[in-house]
Each structure stands twice: as C-alpha cells, then as structure tokens.
C-alpha cells in the first residue's frame, strides 16, 4: 500500500484532464534515467523545485548536479517539481489537486524539504505560486512542524532579502557538499524530533547557510543592516560565507543525467569544464560570485563526455562554463573530441569570447554551415568597453568578425547592453557604427551578411562593482532604444531589444531588501506569474502592488548609493571584498581596465586569501601568485595598473 501522505492525483484521473493543457508532457515525467525511490522508506524526502517551466528547468545544470548528488545518498529520495504553466495552475486549482512531483506524483507539501533554485529575480512570484499550489503557508512564520522546510540556493540566494519572509534558509555557494550537509542535519534533527526553531539553529550553524528569521534588519540612513538575534545563547554568524568547492575535478558530476521525453531548451549533453571566471567584467554577477576559477582536468572532461553521450544517446555535447574559450585545454579538448568523435557527436561551446581564437574554435566545430555566430562586445564604444572592463578592442571585434566571414558565417549576432553607468548618446550610437562596420567587412568578403544587434537594458547587480550604480529609468532606456533603432536602419541590419519595464522590475528585486516581501506577495495575489516572460508579465499589477504596500520601486532600482551604504546583502559574503568592488567601480569611472588573474598576477579580489582557496588550473599549470594583492602592492605595480587602461596596452590582450 502506498503511504497516503504521498498520494497526489492518480494517473487515471490526471490523464482525463491533461488533454486540456498546453504541452501536457511537462507533467508526466518518465525520463530515461530519472530516479524513483520509495518515498515512504527513506529518512529524508527532498523536492528540488524549479520556479520556471519544465523545458527550462530540466536544462539547468546546477539542478542536474544536485539531483544526482542527493539521490546518490541512500537515505534521501530527491524528486523534481517545476512551475506549472498558467493553464495547468488553473487546472490544479479547479480540481483541487496539489502541485505534485514529477517522479512519484507526490504532493509538494508531503516532502520534508523543498529546495528552490534561484536563478533569476523574475521567477519570485512563481515561487510563491508553487508554495501556494502545494498547500504550504507562504510565510515561514506561518509554517509549523507538519510543514516542509523551505530552502533556496543559486545566485539570487546571495542577495535574497525580498524572499526572506518566505524561505526558511538560504544555501549559499557551491551546492555539491552543502546539500549533503543540509540533509544530514535534517536527518539527525528528524530522528530526535526537535522543534522547528531547533532545526533552523542547527542549519544556521552550517557554513554557507543563512537563516533570515534569526536576523533583525535595521533600516536607517546607513542602509539596511542585518543584525543577528540572540537565541538562548545561540547567535548566528554576523557574516555568512558562501561555500566554495576547492576542486572541481573530484566533485561529483551527473554522468548519467536524466533524458527528458520532450526537448529541453538545451537539448544536448552538458559537461562543465570549469567554474568561476576572472575576466572581471564589472557588470557581471556570475564573474564575481563563482570565484576562483577551478578547471576540470582534460581527462576528466573526456571521460564525462563519453559517459554522457553513451548513456543519453545525445548527438551533441556542450562544454559549459562562463567563458569556454578560457579553458586551458580548450583547443586540445575540442580537437580530440572531434578526431575521436565518440558516438558521432557534435561539440558546442556556449559563451565564446570576442576574438579570432574563439572564432577559430567555432570554425573547428563546423557550426558555420548550420548556424550563425554570436559575439558579445557588450558595449559599442571603446570608452564604455573599458569602463565595464570588457577587455576587447574595436580592432579585435572587427578581426573576429572578419575571421567569421572568412570561415563561412554570414549571420552574426552581437550582444550589447545599454543604460550602462556613464553612457552617453555617442556610446549608444557607436553600437550602430560597430554593427555597420561589421556589415561592411562581410560585404567586402563577398557575403550578403546579416548582423543582428541584440540589446538588453543594464541591471546593476549585488556583489558587483556596479552595485552602487542606478539603473536607468525605463523611459530613458526606451529613448536610447529608439535612438539606436533609428541609427540601425538598412539592409542586413536587424535590431532586437528587451522590454525596458522588465529590466526595471528586475532592477528592483536584484537589490531589494526585506520590505519588498509585502509587494511580492501582493503581486502574487493579483495573479502575477512568469514575470520573466514578456507575454505573461503584468506590469500594471506590479505597479498596484508597489503602491498598495507603500514601496517606491525607484528607491531600489534607480538610486545611486553612497560608498558607505550598508547593503541588504552585506552580511552574505561571496568572498570578493567590498573594497575590491569599490576600487573596480572607481577604475570604471576612469575607464581603467583590470587584467584577469589567470594571466599570472592576482588582482586582489580577496577570495583566495580570505576563504583559503586557490585558482586551480588543469594540467598542473601554476595559478596566479598571491603575494601582492593591490592594497599592499608597491607603487610601481599600481602604475602598471593604470597602464593597463591605456589604449596602447590593449596590445597586451590581443594575443589571447
């Protein structure tokens, strides 16, 4: 007999209804390689919850990793839950069915732990919707002993205050070890039948776990300061540090991932070749949050590729990282994979750099014939590229484009941001000029080129050098979009842009504090869902929600912060020091660039010393020496720093 706790809708009931929703296969599971254990016979049941649709969630590498790590423990059963599309939400409510897990169709509320993946601020209303559909009280304070523990991890957990009222504990940093620690603590606590507060205290004792209810927030002129509460002798840490894996090479990896029955957004095998990025782009949160760089050994990459292809049947494998051309053995790895060609598979590289080397790699992969090439110069003018530390010159961009056209590409997509700190109309127009020059190069090479300019609005993110900067207001962003559009007319030039209203909403929540919880709940109650989907987001409902809860969105999105301001995420440490971030912001204003520490010298972000970790390059290559972080560096080294921002010094990077 099945344990009644774990009984959701029966298959016979469900299948009479699923014909009414779009893509019903989102809810049926049955993936090859999915793990189904008997939920009643394990100590801890864990629902890995992804607050977006199935096809997006099943492509998320971090969730794949955690799913296999947790299911490798014999006392844990980990199942998956995705955000149902709006028609399915309606059906669930209509039938009075709870949101259920994919594997066993067990109600979300029956799990011991629900772990949300926080990839993007605009999924927050979906999180509330999933809790609500699971019959779980939204607010932590309303949950009692019979309710699941609600935790969340991922990049947004590093600045999670808008969710602090709804999530019991946040898991910061690399999850491979931390997830195991959490379920172990949970198991012990469950055996001893302790109280919920006791559980939270124990979790707060783990490195990398932040329990917001154990902190008071003081709001004053200084900012929003989180103060640990005294709990009968227990005081949580003043600063919670994110967990960092020392080495990726011996970290567990899903070499037998589950294969969805409907195509995920990334329908291919994925092998993470390194974690972290120290290119140091100043707008990029991932580049600050996942330091230091830790590479996998090429032999390990090779083995994982073979195992995944054999197990999955995929005909393509992607070598994943934040900047795949930076991998120390990228050329060797790609040529070996192509030469030995395991299972006749294609190889793809996401996120390539803007240079001839990367174009050469793309050419090796033979994608010129089938698809276009994507380059991300991020800004149109040299001045702006220096300001954001995107260390690439116009010559390099043009060279990369020329190599692309020579290699047979005729369709080039360029990614840019507008609304960057200090941007002028000239900088915006330079985007159009750059695109036109690239089109000219294509024409000279005898092509009929298409150059697609894809522009998104810059959103300042916590833990980056731009965390002090205001986001440009939507009307102004729209004006710049129009300016660019009018400059981009002509055959072979295409313009795509993101909705300015969406960027503004993202900017509110990215740097939000705990007071935003009320607005979030109000928006959820007004029916806001899938805020990241331009055809679903309801900005008027959001405005109402802000108004009703007395929140001024501009305070969060469009305000420049003072240097001393205490941020709502200052008690959560990524490892990169705030002083480093400030220094980077100052350099940005002077359009000075900073090198990548993989080039040999530490740039003093602080994580290696403070967290006792180091840059791990594959093949026993030496990482940067840590002797002289810039604070302590002798004056002549500082002079070099300034040189690095000079026009001429760009020569330095061109060989890369």
């Amino acid at each position: 007999m099945q344990d009644v706790r774990f009984v959701g809708p029966s298959w016979d009931d469900l299948k009479r209804q699923l014909g009414k929703v779009e893509k019903p296969a989102r809810y049926i599971g049955g993936e090859v390689g999915a793990v189904r254990k008997d939920l009643a016979s394990v100590d801890v049941t864990f629902a890995l919850a992804f607050p977006d649709v199935y096809e997006v969630g099943v492509s998320h590498l971090g969730s794949l990793i955690l799913y296999s790590v947790l299911n490798s423990l014999d006392f844990v059963a980990c199942e998956r839950v995705y955000m149902p599309w709006t028609d399915m939400e309606e059906l669930l409510r209509d039938k009075g069915w709870p949101l259920f897990s994919i594997e066993s169709r067990a109600p979300l509320g029956s799990f011991d732990i629900i772990g949300f993946s926080l990839q993007y601020e605009l999924t927050y209303t979906n999180i509330l919707a999933m809790l609500d559909l699971g019959g779980i009280p939204l607010r932590s304070e309303d949950r009692g002993d019979g309710h699941p523990l609600v935790i969340a991890g991922g990049p947004c957990a590093m600045a999670p205050e808008p969710l602090a009222d709804f999530v019991d504990a946040f898991a910061l940093g690399d999850g491979e070890e931390l997830a195991v620690d959490i379920v172990r603590v949970y198991r012990e606590w469950k055996k001893e039948r302790g109280s919920r507060v006791e559980l939270l205290k124990r979790l707060a004792g783990l490195d990398g776990v932040y329990v917001p209810s154990l902190y008071d927030v003081v709001y004053d002129e200084a900012g929003a300061r989180a103060v640990p509460r005294d709990f009968e002798g227990f005081r949580p840490p003043h600063v919670v540090r994110r967990r960092v894996l020392r080495s990726l090479d011996d970290a567990p990896y899903p070499d037998k991932p589950f294969i969805p029955l409907i195509p995920p957004i990334h329908d291919r095998g994925m092998v993470e070749i390194f974690r972290g990025c120290t290119q140091g782009c100043r707008f990029c949160q991932a580049g600050m949050l996942y330091r230091p760089v830790r590479e996998r050994e090429p032999e390990t990459v090779d083995r994982l590729v073979r195992d995944i292809l054999k197990h999955s049947g995929y005909d393509e494998v992607s070598l994943v990282s934040l900047s795949s051309a930076d991998y120390g053995f990228i050329k060797e790895t790609v040529s070996r994979l192509l030469r030995e060609n395991p299972c006749g598979a294609r190889v793809s590289l996401p996120s390539l750099r803007v240079d001839s080397f990367s174009v050469g790699l793309a050419e090796m992969l033979g994608s010129s014939a089938t698809s276009g090439l994507t380059l991300a110069p991020e800004a149109g003018s040299q001045r702006m590229r220096d300001a954001i530390n995107k260390r690439v010159t116009e010559e390099e961009v043009l060279e990369a484009a020329a190599s692309a056209f020579s290699a047979g590409y005729s369709h080039i997509k360029l990614y840019f941001m507008i609304g960057l700190p200090g941007e002028t109309d000239e900088d915006v127009l330079d985007i159009a000029r750059l695109a036109s020059r690239i089109r000219e190069i294509g024409r000279k090479k005898g092509k009929r080129p298409t150059v697609v300019v894809s522009v998104s609005g810059f959103v300042p993110k916590p833990h980056t050098p731009f965390q002090w900067e205001p986001a440009v207001i939507p009307d102004e962003l729209r004006r710049r979009q129009r300016l660019l559009r009018s400059a981009l007319r002509g055959p072979g030039l295409e313009f795509r842009y993101h909705d300015a209203g969406l960027s503004a909403l993202e900017a509110v929540f990215a740097r939000g504090d705990r007071r935003l919880g009320a607005a979030l709940e109000a928006a959820f109650r007004k029916g806001c869902r899938f805020d990241a989907w331009p055809d679903k987001v309801r900005l008027e409902a959001w405005s109402e929600a802000f108004r009703e809860t007395g929140i001024d969105p501009a305070f969060y999105a469009h305000r420049e912060r003072a240097r001393e301001e205490v941020f709502p995420w200052d008690h959560l440490s990524s490892g990169v020091r705030k002083a480093f971030l400030w220094k980077e912001r100052e350099k940005s204003r002077e359009t000075l660039t900073t090198w990548d520490c993989r080039e040999g010298r530490c740039t003093g972000c602080g994580i290696c010393a403070d967290f006792n970790v180091s840059v791990r390059l594959a093949g026993g290559r030496r990482g940067p020496s840590l002797e002289a972080p810039p604070e302590e560096r002798a004056p002549e080294t500082d002079a070099q720093t300034i040189e690095a921002g000079d026009e001429i010094s760009h020569e330095k990077w061109s060989g890369r």
């Binding site: 298959w11 296969a25 049926i28 049955g30 090859v32 029955l261 049947g313 014939a369």
Partner: protein, 217 residues
Amino acid sequence: MKVRAVYEKGDKVRFLGHLDVSRCIRLALRRAKWPLEMSQGFSPKPRISVYAPLPVGVAGMREYFDASLRGRPDVGALARALASSLPEGFALHELYPIGDGEAPFEEIVRASLYSVDVEGVKIEAVRHALNGFLKARQVFFDVVRPKEVKRVDLRPFVLGVGEPEEAGVDRVVLDMAIAHDKGRTVRPQWVLSSLGEFDLDVDPREAIIDRRKIIFE
C-alpha cells in the same frame, strides 16, 4: 539494410507529440548503438522514418518506424538492444528486415482502428449520436490552426463504428475505424466533437483514445 519496427506508444507516453516520439526513438536507437545510416550534407541525420503521426494524448498499440542501417547486423541483437533502451511506456513488438522495393508506407495505409473511452455520458445518448452521424451525408468540422481555420468533412473518413459498450457508470467505450487517404486522415477527437451536433455533450479532451492498429491494403 532497412528494418521495420512495430512498437507501442503506450499509456504513459500518450501525451508526447509526433516529433517527441521521433526524438525519443532516435535517442533510444543511439543508446542501443544501432549502426544507423546517416544522410549526406552539413548536418547528417540518421535515416529513420516514423510513420502515421499520432496527436498528443493518443496512445498507439502497433505503430511503425523504418530505419536504414549500415551493413547487415543481426536483427535479433538489434531488437534486444532497442527493447532495453526505449523509455518506459514504449515497447518494441516486432522487428524485421524489409526490401528496398517496398511500397511507400503512407500509400499502403488504409485505416486506423481506434478505441475511444468517454466518461460522463449515457450509452443511449452515444448510440443516438452515432446513428445520427452515420446517417448524415456530410459532417463538417473546423480545424483551428494557429494561422487558419480549415473546414473538413469528417463523414467520409469514418468507415465504421463498433457497438458502444458500457465500461462503468456513465462510461462508454467504442471502436472507430477512420480512413487514411494519401496521408490525409482525421482525428477521433474531431469526430467526438462533432457528435455535439447530434446531441451528445462530451469534452473530447477528456476522452482516452488508443489506436489499436493500423490497417493496410
């Protein structure tokens, strides 16, 4: 060498669309390490044809696909490898070599035999509606596609309907034979919908429909 497989798209995978089914088969064949012959060109694809598309929601007990293979591998071994690679819900029933001279599949398909299981209806009402439908000379149905609405006459496609049987309280099961005409056919759900014209109130989306078999000439 070319082989033909008779497989099942079972109850658990009824909600896959035709492209999803083709993708699942392709991945399973690769896991089973079949020596698939590839097409020429920039992005070579294995030469597999999955026939007689079933709509989302409809299961199929005896479905067909062909695959072209390199060399002359042992068919028994291929069958064993595939049977253990297919996702749960699929099954392999038969596998046999076919000659190159075989007539194109779509040309020899004559009909599909479906079983249709509806709830919330009285058997008399079903009988009455079916009689009405079968007596009519034309029964039009509007197929709504993203960019157009196409009107089809369902009547000539419905070759015959079996005697409805009671399968529980207000639950009726019946067989339906639907013609294929040079690749054109209609869906049993459309026929159910059109029974509204003959006073049968049934939501075709709640019907459980299985294709029991495909009938050849």
